[in-house]
Amino acid sequence: MKPILDVQGLTRIHGTECPSCLDMTGPEHNTNVCPACGSIVAAANVSFSLQPGEILGIMGESGSGKSTVVKTLYFDQAPSRGKACFQDDTRTHDLFELNGAEQRWLRNHRFGMVYQNPNLGLNFSISAGGNIAERLLMNDLNHYGDIRRRASELLTRTDVMVGRMDESPRQFSGGMQQRVQIAKALATRPPLLFLDEVTTGLDLSVQARILDLILEIQHELDTAMIVVTHDLGVIRLLASRTLVMKHGRVIESGLTDQILEDPQHAYTQQLVASTL
């Protein structure tokens, strides 16, 4: 089977960049700031592939570059180098070669994103239903009755009371805001979903329900997902395969069970040991 997403050598450097940037940073130098030019190597040579319907976990401490990877794939940031191919049914899109309009089209029609901070994913000045409607309208659904129906279906699916769909998400609890974000991301039934620290900052029972929801959705719609988190519990529950990142590099990758039970890299060992 062809992977839905194939990423090769994804690199993102903030700053003036010099030839020694990649050689003088990384876990072995214990920094991601280039000592020669001061550039910050947010991600370097990240390669992985994702099968349709698979959940891939990206794990690492803050500043390790895991969010950068997802943000470049969702076109929030441009990469410095690298290639990413997205398989859309029969067509293959070379993501970073597309023009702005094509990128926005893919983003609105084929990708979904759930941010850690609902402020980024939701518009608080319109209602929860309006947030979902916006995404449906971007997909050329132009029938008010159908939009209302779809939005209430999605909110029911994500356990948000339909009676509150016409309220601003500002009045919702953090967990509910996160569920509205998920409903919004799912509105177009995207084949690829990015989840950036979705449960961070939520209390444990809410976390558990959101993780359940994500798993159910994955079973139901067969959505491929990239889950970014620093929480080993989330990784263990959701991801079948995992990348471990540090200082912008992938230091270990493989089956989640393998990584958590038998970590090879010293940093991963430390990470696994510290949580247990």
């Binding site: 702005g100 926005r104 319109i126 239903g129 409607a133 309208l137 029938h143 008010y144 016409d166």
Partner: protein, 299 residues
């Protein structure tokens, strides 16, 4: 304006139509571009006029760039020829365009400058309507960055404008935009048709006359060429609705002055209390009145 006012210095130091020839040429060029790309907000170098921006300088520059000595100009403000803005702009044109005749009759004008209304009388192919525009960009209510608005216009991405309509329907069960109703021109660009009431929006669709929109402060000119599609932005299942002027029992109100039941009415508060409704288009009202009098006399 003081009727005895004269232009300072020698009158011939001003060129015909106040604007210098270079300015007029630039505006004409921009008008041609605007017609070629229906609905596209074409930037232009809006000149300083001897009046504050916001008093119709955009419409006035269009008028002055197009007017010639054989033109007949009509200027209206909210349908009326006699309100302050209309009178002053008309006098300014009389002062700076020697030989140009002005009129209050819609049918007799070759060039009509208007604020907030499209005349009731159907326009002809040989007429041009210049609308004064305060805010040219319909997306400004949903996107503050002009750079991003341009991209949205380019891609025909009006989802967020429709989201605004969705929110209106959710909150009020109807679309609450009373004027400046976003209208899609020729299947792509959505324009702000200047603050004309919803009642006038269908008049843009396949109009016989050229309609030009000038925003002086925002430095934009755009056009709805003759016989061009102009469709108000709506949902598939919720049709566009205009003001209906019905009484509570569903009867169409008539103009208190001329009795017309097919015109846009202004609601007036009477001095002795109570309300009256009257045509907003004074020329139309006068003609209805003249027609009614003529009918009374003939038999």
């Amino acid at each position: 304006m003081n009727p005895n006012y004269k232009l300072p210095g020698a009158q011939d130091s001003y060129s015909f139509g106040f604007l210098d020839e270079f300015a007029k040429r630039e505006i004409r060029r921009v008008i041609l571009k605007a017609i070629s790309i229906p609905g596209y907000q074409t930037p232009y170098a809006s000149r300083e006029m001897p009046m504050g921006r916001g008093f119709g300088t955009g419409g006035l520059q269009l008028t002055l760039a197009m007017i010639g000595p054989d033109d007949t100009l009509k200027v209206i403000d909210q349908g009326s020829d006699d309100s302050v803005n209309a009178v002053n702009l008309r006098k300014f044109a009389e002062l700076t365009c020697p030989g140009v005749s002005t009129t209050e009759s819609t049918a007799g004008a070759s060039l009509i400058q208007t604020r907030h209304r499209v005349p009731e009388t159907a326009l002809r192919e040989d007429q041009v309507l210049n609308l004064q525009v305060p805010y040219p960009d319909p997306l400004v209510i949903v996107e503050p960055s002009e750079a991003r608005r341009k991209v949205m216009h380019g891609e025909g991405d009006y989802a967020r404008l429709l989201t605004k309509l969705y929110e209106d329907l959710v909150q009020f069960d109807e679309i609450t935009i009373s004027h400046r109703y976003p209208t899609r021109i020729n299947g792509h660009y959505v324009i702000d048709p200047s603050p004309i009431p919803r009642y006038d929006v269908p008049r843009l669709h396949h109009a016989k006359a050229l309609m030009l929109f000038g925003a002086g402060r925002e430095k934009k000119i755009y056009a709805v060429p003759p016989y061009t599609d102009a469709e108000p932005l709506v949902f598939d299942d919720i049709p566009f609705r205009t003001e209906n002027f019905n009484t509570s029992d569903g009867k169409r109100r008539a103009c208190a002055r001329c009795g017309a039941t097919d015109s846009f009415l202004d609601e007036l508060n009477l001095e002795e209390g109570g309300k009256a409704w009257q045509c907003s288009d004074t020329d139309y009202c006068n003609r209805q009145l003249a027609g009614a009098n003529a009918r009374e006399v003939t038999p």
